[in-house]
C-alpha cells in the first residue's frame, strides 16, 4: 500500500492506515499470519499487470479464433492463457474498429479489471475522470492527447455491476511482420482502458 497519488488527485492515505491497523489486529489476535495475507494477495494478483492485458491483445491480433472467443466470452478466453482463475467477476472485452472507439470507467467507485491488469492508475479513480468521461468523452480523450475523428462513434462502458471491461485496441499499421511478443510490447495500459490508441 502506498500513500496514493503525490499529485494529490486521489489520496489513499486514510484507507491505507485503516488497512494496516486491521492487518495488525488480525495478526495480534492470531486470526491469521502476515504470511497468509501475503500469500492470498500474491495469489489474487498473480499475472495481474498491464503486461498480461498486452499479451491477451497480441494473441487476439495474431489468432483469429482466439479473438472471436475473447470477444464472445472474455473470462473463458483469458483463462486459456492462465489469467483470472477463480475470479468472481466476468470480463468483457470491447473491440475498437475503424468507426468505433471504446473507453472504460467506473463512475460509482473505481471498478477495474484488476485481476488481469493489476492496480488501476490514480487518475482512473479521480472524480474528474469518473464524472467527466461519461458526459464529455471527446474532450477528456483530447486531454489524454487522443483526438478522434468526428465520425468515430464513442461508447463509454460504466462498470456498475459485476462485469469488468477491457478494450481491444486496433492493431497498429505496419506491424505485419512482428511476432506476438513484439506486438505485446506495443500495447500500453491506456490503450487497454481506451484513453489512448496505438
Amino acid at each position: 500500500m502506498t500513500s496514493g497519488d503525490p499529485a494529490g488527485g486521489h489520496s489513499d492515505a486514510s484507507i491505507s492506515r485503516k488497512v494496516r491497523r486491521l492487518e495488525t489486529l488480525l495478526e495480534e489476535k492470531g486470526v491469521l499470519t502476515g504470511t497468509q495475507l501475503d500469500e492470498a494477495l500474491d495469489a489474487f494478483l498473480a499475472g495481474a499487470s498491464p503486461a498480461s492485458g498486452a499479451r491477451v491483445v497480441a494473441r487476439a491480433w495474431t489468432d483469429a479464433g482466439f479473438r472471436s472467443r475473447l470477444l464472445a466470452d472474455g473470462t473463458a478466453a483469458v483463462r486459456e492463457l492462465g489469467y483470472m482463475e477463480g475470479a468472481e467477476q466476468r470480463l468483457r472485452v470491447v473491440e475498437n474498429t475503424a468507426s468505433t472507439h471504446n473507453v472504460i470507467v467506473c463512475t460509482l467507485c473505481s471498478c477495474y479489471p484488476l485481476r488481469l491488469l493489476g492496480p488501476s492508475p490514480s487518475w482512473y479513480k479521480s472524480e474528474a475522470y469518473r464524472s467527466r468521461v461519461v458526459r464529455e468523452p471527446r474532450a477528456v480523450l483530447e486531454e489524454f492527447g487522443l483526438r478522434l475523428p468526428e465520425t468515430t462513434d464513442i461508447t463509454v462502458w460504466d462498470s456498475s455491476a459485476e462485469t469488468r471491461y477491457m478494450v481491444l485496441p486496433r492493431r497498429p499499421e505496419g506491424t505485419q511482420g512482428l511476432a506476438e511478443e513484439e506486438l505485446a510490447a506495443l500495447v500500453t495500459r491506456n490503450a487497454l482502458i481506451g484513453t489512448a490508441v496505438l
Binding site: R69, A72, D73, G74, T75, A76, R90, R92, T107, L108, V134, R135, E136, P137, R138, D153, I154, T155, V156, W157, D158, S159, S160, A161, E162, T163
Partner: protein, 104 residues
C-alpha cells in the same frame, strides 16, 4: 462459443433490443443505478448474468434476491441533453421497466 452466464434465459424479463426505462428512485442506501442514469430511456444490449442485488447485499442482509443484470445502452442525448456518444451501464433487472412507445 458464448459465455453461458450471459446467455439469455427464459426467466429474463427483457430481451436484447428491448426498450427500457430506468427507475427514478433516490434510495437512502447503496445502489448501483447511478444518479445520472435514473429515469432515463435506453436499449438492452444483452444479459450479463445474474447476481445478488447490490442494494440489499450492501446492507449486510443475507436475503438479497438474485436478479439478471443487463448491459443497457443509452444515447448521451438522452442522459445529458447533448453529445453524440453512448454510455453502457450494467443494471439489475429491478432497476428497469418496459418503455412502451405510447408514453413517448
Amino acid at each position: 462459443m458464448t459465455d453461458p452466464a450471459a446467455a439469455p434465459t427464459a426467466d429474463d424479463r427483457f430481451a436484447p433490443g428491448a426498450r427500457v426505462r430506468t427507475f427514478r428512485h433516490d434510495p437512502p442506501h447503496h445502489t448501483r443505478l447511478p444518479r445520472y442514469a435514473r429515469g432515463k430511456r435506453g436499449t438492452v444490449v444483452e444479459p450479463e448474468g445474474p447476481a445478488a442485488l447490490a442494494d440489499v447485499n450492501a446492507r449486510g442482509r443475507g436475503d438479497a434476491p438474485v436478479e439478471q443484470i443487463y448491459a443497457v445502452r443509452f444515447a448521451a442525448r438522452d442522459l445529458w441533453g447533448e453529445g453524440d456518444h453512448h454510455v453502457v451501464l450494467d443494471l439489475w433487472e429491478s432497476y428497469l421497466e418496459e418503455d412502451s412507445d405510447d408514453e413517448r
